[in-house]
Symmetry: C2
DNA sequence: CTGAAAGCGCTAACAT
DNA sequence: ATGTTAGCGCTTTCAG
């Protein structure tokens, strides 16, 4: 491996001078500087960032701990986070949710050991046993989409309102037997969306039907099983609210394969307003927010925190205002 | 920052003993070992992987340089690559294609400087000026999906055959005015798929119509502009072959928004067999391959290479056999 | 403006 | 079995 020592030797200067050419070029006489640059070129030298990190105590690296890419929402946030990070001069190490084990425990040694400059974290539960370690670590951290119960920096949608808007929309369309399908409520997102749904249903004085309300794994399998059961009920739901667009797309897949038409036979809606929701093949009614993407906002805030080295200072808590996007998968109840 | 020195002091041992407890626990007497482990626990110690890398010359990190996540194909490969890597004990640093600048130049310093153990690379052109540097670097490298013209390790689809199968399928359905929409042919994938299309058309003795054949940017904008032009021709195509599923989905979006029915008014097909292709809302006819996903194969091979430290040895060149998946977006030409 | 010397936190060789 | 010493490649004093 070619080191700054090799470059120094070839250029006939001392090793620290090579370092200076890299970090503070003006501080070295043009003549020598050019010699050094030439030597670098000739040897194909790349400064060892590992070694640099060891002394500067900064890795220019952030860790992203995200939900699965199978969910379009996380594909979009991951995309924008990595782009923003790169633009600001940071590398991104990515960790994804594991089907089996949705704890961050597994990644912890890697993240802590790698001395990342900051952490962007979606994979957290409301009362997460790992949170304490995270706080102790003193590493700047921003949650996005999901957040823990305790104080923290986060960027989330106003999920209560999001679910509420959607529920009200369906009620306005005359639906009463509304199914609600969601992930487990030990994460903030699903917990809050559930609250929004329940509140709005209660206000409308329409009785909720417990058999139509399910909190399950968000992967295909469980949804695959659930939907047919709902549809085959004596009194099937006339509308299904899915707590995420990703679930809604799976839901649509199954409903269509059962030969039902959307929205003529059944209305379906999601939350997140992912890219795919606006596709003509879906035209999914959903709730999202305009402005910058959530990942972008989270990344920008994290990087600000890193560069001001204000890990704690004023808490950054950003709640994005949701907006109902009515498309073609929801319609008036005819009957 | 808590270092092994601190742990050593607290446990009343020398610093290297702490290191031994980490790397070779059996070599240290149980009594001392437990003292050390306890001290680690109490102090909340995490070994500094950066420092370790500097001396072991191994980062347990691979770099993934991928096409954009907006393309479902790359979302799927990224997902499986990161999972496989994690499973094998490797972290993944991710770099994505930049809209503006599709060269890896930008990432180069970061990748080379970070001394990754291996590189998984899709973002390469047939004659890529960066290739030489890559080879010089001696870092194990596997290309997937795309490959350079020169000798290298790669995992790709037999793209000529893939396009050929699809073209033949449409010819068999009676189509003659077939449009072909693809990315630029300076990347192997698009170049080979083009060859497959052309060969098959020539064999059938049906004349290709140059105005229906386009090599453009794969992002929405250019496709958005192109499709209406094609549709509004005096003699519009009766079928459109898109060189990727991602392009096909965009294409379908536009065609549907123009009020055409698929496949009654126009047949559309893609290549890659991405997850979304099988969704009931699309039922896209496409070409893919069964067995393990491409990303998985590439990652497994790369890691093997790393662990055998056989950067060059026998070249690993894996060409996956394509399989035509006929769904519902292609149909017999009526009229 | 530049060289010499020290040290980041760890592992590896060498003693004991 | 364990402590001592050296050194990975870099940045950072400190002299001069």
């Amino acid at each position: 491996m070619i080191s700054s020592k090799d470059v120094a030797k070839r250029a006939g200067v001392s090793q620290p001078t090579v370092s200076r050419v890299l970090n503070n070029p003006e501080s070295v006489k043009p003549e020598k500087r050019n010699k050094v640059l030439q030597a670098m070129e000739e040897l194909g030298y790349y400064p060892n960032l590992i070694a640099r990190s060891l002394v500067t105590n900064s890795t220019r690296t952030i860790a992203l701990i995200s939900g699965t890419l199978k969910n379009g929402f996380f594909a979009e946030t991951t995309d924008s986070i990595i782009h923003i990070a790169k633009q600001k001069g940071y590398k991104t190490i990515v960790y994804f949710e594991d089907e089996n084990e949705d704890e961050i425990t597994d990644y912890w040694d890697s993240i802590m050991g790698h001395k990342v400059d900051g952490i962007l974290l979606s994979l957290i539960r409301l009362d997460d046993p790992n949170l304490k370690k995270l706080v102790n670590s003193q590493i700047p951290c921003v949650f996005f989409n999901r957040r823990p119960r305790n104080e923290s920096n986060f960027v989330v949608l106003d999920n209560v309102m999001a679910a509420s808007l959607l529920t009200q929309h369906l009620l306005d369309l005359g639906h009463q037997r509304i199914a609600y399908i969601s992930g487990k409520t030990d994460v903030s997102t699903f917990n809050e969306r559930k609250l929004g749904f329940e509140e709005t249903m209660q206000q409308s004085k329409i009785k909720q039907i417990p058999e139509l309300i399910h909190f399950i794994n968000t992967s295909n399998d469980e949804i695959d099983q659930l939907i047919p059961k709902l549809i085959h009920r004596a009194e099937p739901p006339t509308a299904i609210i899915c707590a995420t667009d990703a679930m809604a797309l799976i839901c649509i897949d199954i409903v269509m394969s059962m030969g039902l038409r959307i929205p003529e036979d059944i209305s379906i809606a999601g939350i997140d307003d992912t890219r795919m929701a606006s596709h003509q093949a879906f035209q999914l009614t959903t709730v999202g927010h305009q402005k910058l993407a959530m990942g972008e906002i989270a990344a920008l805030n994290l990087i600000e925190m890193i560069e001001e080295s204000s890990a704690q200072e004023p808490l950054r808590q950003i709640i994005l205002k949701p907006e109902l996007v009515i498309r073609k998968t929801t319609a008036h109840l005819v009957k």
